[in-house]
């Protein structure tokens, strides 16, 4: 288990530099407001901030008290207030209310707003409209890349998904471009660039523009990372919507990993306290099971426990000197391992308990049926029952979306009845949720002329492929269709199973979904890397509705070492799941690559659905 890397796998670049950079910048900004000050932090920024600078560092730079930016006003007596916020209009109103209240009370203080990762003009506009633009000073904390793990960088911008894919708001693209620019200044230029999707293309172009404006700096550097691959989340919603069954994904689905750490409740810690645990490569136990299919994890952990016991047992029969050695050198490590082991065993138990309660097997079976496209009626009734029983609003929604995407939209009858059922179960405000989902293409109705596929295939037999492509393009501009079934066939996403899929010794990336499905996003990346271009994937690109949005950009590779050419940065715009990360880690081990992940945020099906949901305030 816990497959080792091939001996020739390249070393990962050291990303801790990003943390130091962010910390120094923050300290510089805090020092701009000399003297004691109270710091107001936006809730979403607290965890990332914690990974960069802890409270004692803040105190060192004369931060007196810490407040959370929330709806109710805070009472601070400090003469200097500093706000650390995301550039959101909501926050501007909060600050404006506070400042204006001070004004009414005839109180003058110093206010400083630090926007992270950047400031938006719209925010300044609001400050101006609220009449406090002159009273506050604004700054930017360009902290856009948080290294969550040795191979995982997160922008910690979950709102990216909704803003871009639902609202069509492109302002974060600039942030992405800036982040890429930072990476290329620190780790050298990227000789090979690939991407697919509108957002990927725009980000890439903007990034290139930034590089051109500031040319010269990176030119002479040796590339450390040979490839970069940008991918829009809407290229592959299916993978993100599936239930995760690798350990890390399952922990995320069950307990929600937040900013690289998880809160294990009393049911896991088997004490009366919750425990915040950092989940990354430094946790030796976790590191060995994170990418494993859940069915293997328990066996592994018990084996590990036995080994541990054996190591403990060694002390019997030791003489005093050996014992002294053991206590001073090994015991601490063993104890640490022991503690982690019991935590993960606790987590496994808790997951098992939850999953059996929810008929997890049935659920997975339905998902697999949807992915493979058989027994659609049965799956539909399963979903209906799911809704009727009010199992979980988010889960129901997820299944509906999965059905819609795999089937190119629901047939009108189902579309209506499922929606009606859903509204009856979970409340009428979800009418808006459905409107959102339709706009994002997650839950759609098959257009009356959606026998198109049939027409299309006939047409393509009659005329040349190119013309057919054009016709399809014309149609797809009317209704963006997912074409999942066709893509799945083309890319062989459903592995043919002869006999049982051995999850202990995975054959391919499908193991992350119990051998039933190879994640589409990862397959695309695999194929493009193999070909070093999009060549031969025209049909897939067309089916993804991306005829003009897939790009390759290669520069001369004379400077890139063969080691760097096996390092690949994958950028997920709109978030990626732990399953995808596990799948690509697996691919890397098979092929001798190392993948580095940059995501706008780590996501999962629940987060995607929540982003689309309208909830009563």
């Amino acid at each position: 288990m816990a497959f080792p890397h091939r001996p020739d796998a390249p070393e990962l670049p050291d990303f801790s530099m990003l943390k130091r950079l962010a910390r120094d910048q923050l300290i510089y900004l805090l020092e701009q407001l000399p003297g004691k000050k109270d710091l107001f932090i936006e809730a979403d920024l607290m965890s990332p901030l914690d990974r960069i600078a802890n409270v004692s560092i803040l105190k060192q730079h004369e931060v007196d008290k810490l407040y959370k930016v929330e709806s109710k006003p805070a009472v601070s007596s400090s003469e200097q207030l500093c706000f650390l916020v995301r550039p959101r209009i909501k926050n501007m109103r909060y600050i404006a209310n506070l400042v204006n209240a001070d004004k009414l009370a005839g109180r003058t203080r110093k206010y400083k707003v630090i926007f992270s990762p950047q400031k938006f003009y719209a925010c300044e506009m609001v400050l101006e409209e609220e009449g406090i633009y002159g009273d506050v000073s604004c700054d930017e904390w360009a902290f856009s890349l948080l290294p969550l793990d040795v191979d995982l960088l997160s922008m910690e911008l979950p709102e990216f998904f909704r803003d871009y894919f639902l609202e069509g708001d492109q302002r974060w693209i600039n942030t992405v471009a800036q982040a890429l620019h930072l990476l290329s200044t620190l780790y050298g230029p990227f000789p090979n660039c690939y991407g697919i999707g509108r957002c990927a293309k725009m980000s890439y172009e903007l990034w290139r523009k930034l590089e051109d404006e500031e040319d010269g700096e990176t030119k002479g550097r040796r590339p450390e990372i040979g490839h970069i691959f940008l991918l829009d989340r809407d290229m592959d919603f299916v993978t993100a919507l599936c239930s995760q069954v690798v350990y890390e994904g399952l922990v995320d689905d069950t307990f929600r990993i937040k900013c690289g750490s998880v809160d294990f409740g009393p049911e896991v810690t088997s004490s009366d306290k919750s425990l915040k645990v950092l989940l990354n490569a430094e946790d030796k136990v976790f590191n060995e099971i994170r990418n494993e299919h859940f069915s293997n994890v328990f066996g592994f952990l018990s084996q590990k426990a036995r080994n541990l016991q054996a190591q403990y047992d060694r002390r019997r029969g030791m003489d005093i000197k050996q014992m002294k050695n053991f206590v001073s050198q090994e015991l601490k490590g063993l104890k640490q391992e022991h503690r982690l082991l019991s935590l993960h065993i606790g987590a496994c138990e808790s997951i098992m308990k939850k999953k059996t309660k929810q008929d997890f097997q049935e659920l997975i079976k339905t998902e697999h049926a949807l992915l493979e496209g058989f027994n659609i009626r049965e799956s539909t009734s399963y979903i209906e029952e799911h809704i009727d029983r009010q199992v979980s609003p988010i889960e129901s929604l997820r299944l509906m979306c999965l059905l819609s995407i795999t089937e190119n939209g629901l047939i009108p009858k189902d579309y209506r009845s499922l929606k009606t059922q859903y509204l009856q179960s979970y409340g009428p405000e979800h009418l808006l949720t459905f409107s959102n989902l339709r706009r994002a293409g997650l839950l759609t109705e098959q257009a009356p002329g959606d026998t198109l596929t049939a027409v299309e295939s006939k047409v393509s037999k009659l005329v040349t492929d190119k013309a057919a492509g054009k016709i399809t393009d014309a149609f797809s501009s009317l209704a963006k269709r997912s074409n999942f079934r066709a893509i799945s066939k083309k890319l062989n996403l459903i592995p043919r199973v002869d006999g049982e899929y051995d999850l202990k010794v995975p054959r391919d990336m499908a193991y992350v979904f119990s051998g039933a499905y190879v994640p589409l996003s990862c397959r695309i990346i695999e194929q493009v890397l193999e070909r070093r271009s999009w060549q031969g994937l025209d049909e897939v690109v067309r089916l993804l509705n991306c005829s003009e949005l897939a790009f390759t950009d290669m520069t001369k590779e004379d400077k890139a070492s063969s080691e760097s050419l096996r390092l690949i940065l994958v950028v997920f715009l709109g978030g990626c799941t732990f399953s995808e990360i596990s799948a690509l880690r697996f691919l890397g081990r098979e092929k001798g690559y190392r993948f580095i992940f940059l995501t706008t945020a780590v996501t999962n099906s629940a987060r995607l659905m929540e982003a689309m949901s309208e909830v009563k305030a």
Binding site: N174, Q424, G427, E614
Partner: protein, 840 residues
């Protein structure tokens, strides 16, 4: 070369002064200089003449004419003076001509007679008229000092940043001072004036009487005063023909001189240079020029013509109708080399080189002599330095040749000073050419001015090719050098009104291409400044950074173009800036129409409105006939904005109407159902109490059942056409929650269950009621029987059923439930059945 020192005149024991010709003047002056107002800019700058300044007649032929010439007399501009009478002319440090009018208005002209701007020296000046004015230079820029008809002074130390200062009154001043000047001490401008035998110093706070130390007695009036170029020294000329020279602080006397001429001199200026051996003052009368210093004898020149003195940092320029000369103290290096019978190493080296050219062995003797003294390095340095002080290229060459010759005999002489001198002289000779007419001297003016400023001056004279050649010759970095000059050229080019927009744009693009550091938007801004909007837009097309295009486009009111450029740039902040601009500029309808065609801008604006201007958002949807979004908008309002139930229903009604318009029957129906539900929930709350509002339909029914209102619940289910399946699930769950097992059983028997009976087993088990659960197992359909039996824990029976079904999957399911010892028998049974099945 024998007569080389012929024009050297000794002053005192140590210093020599020499005067040589810079140019023979090319101008064709009709008047005498004395009939004109004259101003010459320092650092070899241009000369301005205002002819007929004092004529009041309006006749065109005698109107004042303003003419501008280069230092070599090449005409640069000529224009008829149409404004008011001018009192004084002067050049600013940026080579702008300042013309001070009698009414206190200062008109500013460019080098080519192009009017730049004007400013006034204030009301007081306007009322009392200007009596006299001076333009002076400080380290901050150029200042203007004015003496008004009321004998008060007003000054501004920097015309670029105009701050007027009225100086305090001089007590008892009845008439104009006999002479005055501006001093600059400790970065503050003062005025020194002479009234009769008294001197007064005016600073911004007070007027104080001052006395120069060691002033000869008997002075009844000061006729002339002069401050040196650096404001360090002051000279006073009295009515007794006596000249006092001292520091400008009036604390120290340097020397004095009696010239015995009582006539007031026309001009008096300092002639000195930094590290001067013998400072001197040059005094000019109508036909006589006198150089006086700390020596009993003065140097005298006869002036053939009316002349004008221009003080420089290291000497004095003297120009007249026919010539332009330079008078200065001979620099040390030159003196050492050329002084008669000099044995200085440089002098010997020059000799040696000359002999070497004659192929005479004396060359060796001279060289040996220098080398014996170990002064060869010094000799080479001297020659290099002296070359810099020479005006004539042939002299420069022979000195450099000598230096180069001497260098051959030195092991390690760093070459940069020699190379740099060659380069500098080449540049200096180029700009000294009379076509260019910038007579800079090497030692101080050129070094003081810096090459950047020199380039600026060339650009100002529109000598772009020469400037570019110099940049290329000196290998200046492109951004500082060539690109900057090209950009200036382009800015000039756009002012050529007779050339079509296309041609100008093309010409500029051809020359500039993608030269780094050239900002097309700056050039476009200039074009716009000249009123050529179309040209500006064409030029902006060449600007690679769309972000740079936007502000100018906005300024030019091409907001829509600006919007598409901003969108192209991908910078949402920029888009937003344009949007707000558009919003103010256009009426609402047009604004919305514009947005409609730009989805990216639209979504950006929508996001903003969602938080800041909800009403606008509604208008936006209305304008677009986007009924779907309008419906969503009202739905959101129904639970976010409205509190009262009537308001909420009304909002929902509006939403439903919108949905109908959007042909979204489903949403419309759903909304209407919700209105019905809301009203009903309200009624339920009134009648039954408890909380019903905002529950989903499902939860409403559940709440009713849990509250024991079964009738109502059924009514509701009928009204809202709740499907049977849902109702069964709902009831089942609710009754189990109530643990009303009796009612549950009754319900199960009311008719055949549409959801089967497995759920009954499941739900009972969830409530841990095995007893009840078992009741339903018999009714579970055959396909699910095994599952049901397993649920209630009856493994043995499950095994029987599975064996009966001969279903492999069921068998393994049961097997997986067999635990250890208790189910050992069952497990065996299954294994046997399996084996049997396989046999068959």
């Amino acid at each position: 070369m024998d007569c080389y020192t012929a024009n050297w005149n000794p002053l005192g024991d140590s210093a020599f002064y020499r005067k040589y010709e810079l140019y023979s003047m090319d101008w064709d002056l009709k008047e005498e200089l004395r009939d004109c107002l004259v101003a010459a800019a320092p650092y070899g700058g241009p000369i301005a003449l205002l002819r007929n300044p004092w004529r009041k007649e309006k006749a065109a032929s005698v109107r004042p004419v303003l003419e501008i010439y280069s230092a070599s007399g090449m005409p640069l501009a000529s224009l008829l003076w149409k404004s008011g009478p001018v009192v004084s002319l002067g050049w600013s440090a940026e080579e702008e001509l300042l013309c001070v009018q009698e009414d206190g208005v200062v008109l500013v002209y460019g080098l080519h007679g192009d009017f730049r701007r004007h400013f006034s020296m204030g009301n007081e000046v306007l009322q009392n008229r200007v009596l006299d004015a001076r333009i002076f230079h400080t380290e901050f820029g150029s200042g203007v000092a004015i003496l008004t008809g009321a004998h008060r002074f007003t000054l501004s130390a920097n015309v670029g940043d105009l701050k007027l200062r009225r100086m305090p009154e001089v007590p008892g001043l009845q008439s104009a001072p006999s002479c005055w000047t501006t001093l600059c001490q400790d970065r503050v401008a003062h005025i020194l004036l002479a009234v009769g035998p008294d001197l007064y110093l005016l600073d911004h706070a007070a007027c104080s009487s001052v006395t120069p130390p060691g002033l000869a007695p008997g002075v009844s009036s000061f006729l002339q005063m002069a401050v040196s170029f650096t404001y360090r020294h002051l000279a006073l000329f009295t009515d007794t023909g006596y000249i006092w020279m001292g520091t400008a602080s009036l604390k120290e006397k340097l020397c004095e001189f009696n010239c015995n001429i009582r006539a007031p001199p026309k001009q008096m200026v300092w002639c000195s240079r930094p590290r001067s051996k013998e400072r001197a003052v040059v005094v000019a009368w109508e036909r006589r020029l006198m150089v006086v210093g700390d020596a009993p004898e003065s140097i005298q020149f006869v002036l053939d013509e009316d002349s004008y003195l221009v003080p420089e940092l290291d000497g004095v320029r003297i120009f007249s109708r026919s010539t332009h000369e330079f008078l200065h103290e001979v620099p040390v290096a030159s003196e050492e080399i050329f002084k008669i019978a000099s044995m200085a190493p440089g002098a010997l080296l020059l000799e040696a080189q000359k002999e070497y050219e004659k192929e005479s062995q004396k060359a060796d003797e001279y060289l040996r002599e220098i080398q014996e003294l170990g002064q060869l390095t010094q000799a080479v340095q001297q020659c290099i330095e002296a070359a810099g002080h020479e005006h004539r290229p042939d002299m420069q060459k022979s000195l450099l040749r000598a230096a180069s010759f001497g260098k051959c005999f030195l092991d390690r002489f760093p070459p940069d000073s020699f190379v740099r001198m060659c380069q500098d002289l080449r540049v200096l000779n180029a700009v000294r050419d009379y076509h260019i007419g910038i007579p800079l001297t090497y030692s101080h003016r050129y070094k003081q001015l810096t090459i950047q400023v020199l380039l600026d001056r060339l650009v100002l004279r529109r000598l772009y090719p020469l400037a570019i050649q110099i940049c290329e010759y000196l290998r200046l970095p492109e951004v500082q050098g060539v690109s900057r000059i090209l950009a200036h050229w382009a800015c000039y080019k756009v002012q050529q009104k007779d050339v079509s927009d296309e041609d100008v744009a093309r010409a500029i693009n051809q020359k500039l291409g993608d030269t780094p550091g050239v900002s097309y938007s700056d050039i476009a801004a200039r074009a716009y400044g000249c009123g050529r909007t179309e040209l500006a837009i064409k030029l902006l097309e060449y600007e690679p950074r769309s972000g740079e295009q936007v502000p100018l486009l906005l300024k030019m009111k091409r907001s829509k173009l600006a919007l598409s450029k901003a969108i192209e740039s991908g910078d949402t902040d920029l888009v937003f800036t344009v949007l707000l601009h558009l919003k103010n500029e256009l009426n609402r309808g047009d604004f919305f129409m514009t947005l409609r065609n730009q989805p990216m801008a639209l979504s950006l604006y929508r996001q903003f409105c969602k938080y800041q201007e909800l009403e606008t958002l509604k208008d936006l949807y209305n304008q677009d006939d986007n009924h779907q979004e309008l419906g969503s908008f009202h739905i959101r309002a129904s639970y976010a904005a409205e509190e009262r139930i009537e308001g909420r229903v009304a909002a929902l009604q509006t939403a439903a109407d919108a949905f109908y318009k959007a042909k979204n029957e489903f949403a419309a129906k759903a909304t209407e159902d919700q209105m019905r539900l809301l009203r009903l929930q309200r009624r339920l709350e009134d009648e039954l109490g408890g909380r019903f509002l905002d529950l989903s339909l499902h939860d409403t029914v559940t709440t009713l059942i849990l509250g024991g209102h079964n009738k109502r619940a059924e009514q509701l289910a009928r009204d809202f056409r709740i499907p049977d399946k849902r109702l069964w699930w709902l009831k089942l769950t609710a009754l189990a929650d109530l643990e009303d097992w009796e009612e549950l059983e009754k319900f199960s028997k009311s008719k055949k269950s549409p959801i089967g009976y497995l759920p009954f087993v499941e739900i009972c088990m969830k409530q841990h009621n095995k007893y009840e659960a078992k009741k339903y197992t018999s009714r579970v359909g055959p396909e699910q029987k095994v599952k049901a039996l397993l649920l209630v824990g009856d493994v043995a029976q499950a095994a029987d059923v599975a064996i009966e079904h001969r279903n492999e999957a069921e068998l393994s399911l049961v097997l997986s439930h067999c635990t250890g010892a208790t189910d050992g028998a069952t497990a065996d049974k299954i294994q046997r059945a399996r084996a049997q099945a396989q046999k068959k």
